[in-house]
Symmetry: C2
Subunit: 363 residues, 2 copies
């Protein structure tokens, strides 16, 4: 298997130069002389790491001062609890959730422990093949918030327009397409993303939150589950995952300096996705895309082959050529090519070539 042909759904591929720099830091951080695994999270050096990682994310997203950037643990899963603890518990309101795939459905189950939840749209009966149009959604004008997942990693669907009303807090799980394209942050109130897709190693989650949401937090929230704790402590309330945050810094540097920002990243991601979907469209009988055309994800290209035998053969032969991570999520099966930010266009072209060759042999 080869790093540059790693199409895993996550933890996924990271830029080669980031791996080199991370490797160096394990031995000895330049200018410090210590392994990053033994550097105190209270050191001046690490304070600079957190500050620069935050500054880079702010620059990349053109983030307004109204929003804070936090680095937390517990993955997206812990956000499914922390968000309703803050916004739903004791609010007297209900929360609107969109059920658009495997991950959004899991978020709903956790929110119901904290208060009433209204599922505004549920695509499960339709197999989560498509996303709702904005005009289909009857979002409550007085909901505590609207929660949705911008990119469903398993099914390979992605919102290309913003759901909800701007007057209701918009909460988005952006784990699998964070920093893959520009977003208008002023229209989001909470955005969260675990790192292991586009941003770094598993073990750290970025949360961007409109600070005014914290003005009316209910009492009695455990300190670690209270965003105010982390805001006040600058993300160093307890020992943070130092190494994972450092790699996030390296990835944001790469986005700024090598890629040239999110517009440039989005253009590259569009070319990669276009190339792969073109192969699906060339061989629609063999490569049966899961997502409806207008909801196709630029991050995860999910498809099935006509039989499980053919899928196994596809995976077996792809592995012989050095590809990896192409098996679909265990809940859906089939094939999935995850083409996160760090996936080179050349690798996508190599996969397209393999797929055309496989199709020629099975036409």
């Amino acid at each position: 298997m080869k790093n540059e042909l790693n199409f895993s759904g996550g933890p996924g591929i990271l830029p080669a130069e980031v791996l080199t720099q991370a490797q160096q830091a394990i031995g000895e951080v330049p200018q410090v002389g210590l392994s990053i695994l033994g550097i105190s999270h209270r050191s001046d050096w690490f304070a600079q790491v957190v500050a620069e990682a935050e500054a880079n994310i702010r620059t990349l997203l053109r983030l307004p001062d109204s929003h804070a950037v936090l680095f937390l643990q517990g993955g997206a899963t812990l956000q499914w609890t922390m968000i309703p603890m803050l916004l739903l518990r004791g609010s007297g309101k209900s929360a609107d959730y969109l059920s658009t795939g495997y991950w959004s459905a899991k978020a709903i189950a956790e929110a119901t422990l904290e208060g009433p939840v209204r599922v505004v749209w549920d695509g499960q009966a339709q197999g989560y093949h498509r996303l709702p149009r904005a005009t289909e959604l009857a979002c409550s004008p007085d909901a505590a918030y609207l929660h949705y997942v911008s990119n469903e990693t398993v099914e390979g669907t992605q919102f290309h327009e913003l759901p909800g009303h701007d007057s209701v807090p918009r909460v988005c799980d952006m784990s699998s397409d964070f920093l893959s394209r520009p977003v208008d942050m002023d229209r989001y109130d909470i955005l969260y993303a675990h790192a292991q897709k586009n941003l770094g190693p598993a073990g750290v989650t970025v949360v961007i939150i409109r600070k005014s949401l914290l003005d009316h937090a209910p009492a009695g929230i455990p300190a670690l589950l209270d965003y105010r704790t982390h805001l006040k402590a600058g993300s160093i309330y307890n020992t943070p995952p130092v190494f994972a945050i450092y790699v996030v810094l390296l990835v944001t540097r790469w986005l700024l300096r090598e890629v040239g920002g999110l517009e440039a990243m989005a253009a590259i991601n569009q070319r990669k996705a276009d190339a792969l979907y073109a192969v699906l469209d060339e061989y629609p009988e063999l490569y049966r895309g899961w997502a409806a055309r207008e909801d196709r994800s630029l991050m995860n290209v999910a498809f099935k082959l006509p039989t499980p035998e053919l899928e196994r053969e596809f995976l077996r032969r792809s592995e012989l050529e050095g590809f990896s991570g192409l098996a679909g999520h265990r809940s859906l099966g089939g094939i999935r090519a995850s083409i996160y930010n760090a996936m080179p266009l050349a690798s996508v072209e190599a996969l397209c070539g393999f797929m055309r060759g496989f199709a020629a042999g099975n036409g």
Copy 2:
């Protein structure tokens, strides 16, 4: 600064060979061919990592089958919430806590959010210089559990006998002396330790729990905060910190193969601590140990010098010789030498030499 002279309180020193192996895995895991940062947590390879890490911890501790080993996120801090959620919430009982230092006091504040807490012993007014004798403690025979911290990292005190009744669940924060010496696991019901002292990088916490405690867990606990979730999922409910767990595996291999187990580790740790405390005892006017003699920690040697000016001079000159991490915790000041498992005896001897030289110049 030099890795082998890193006396940081945590994140702290790791064995040199573990750093080398971790570095290699960032580039490419042997036999896999991918960077560990891009390997799926659902891969066969990572299942083996978790299984071997658990098996090694079981071997090192001679852990009975009654107990499960879990790898979680959120540090010791999240355990301060998860434990009372499981054992205190709705139990109709109160929980006994020992307040023996900075960290145990913080655990108490979180437990009170879940139910009544009784502080059986509070050493704060005495400056946390000493720990209670077992005979001083009036632990409740019907408490939901007894919580204590086996080693107070800040003050440098360590329990050398077991507090509490065996009939009441004994819950121990062993973050800073886990795997530093043999323990009789049958007398513990929950033991937890974040990794960044003796075990690996920040970002993973090991929890050892008597499985029968889970039989009567209250309803409504968020999935991620429910030990049953993690037990059922074999520590892979959501994406775990893959890299941190891999380094834990490397450290447990080092303990088993290089050190030769916990009896051998304890003997080495005793020699290191004896060497340092001997210097304190030689120069009691200059190096004023914080801990009472009978409660001295084998992991953290905390002391003050007669004036803040002398302490600054001590730190300045130690840094010139390559030592680092010797400043005391920000809450206490002074000097602290943390001599975790991976700290070589030779480095402790080098520090003793420096301290004798410093004393000679300031006698």
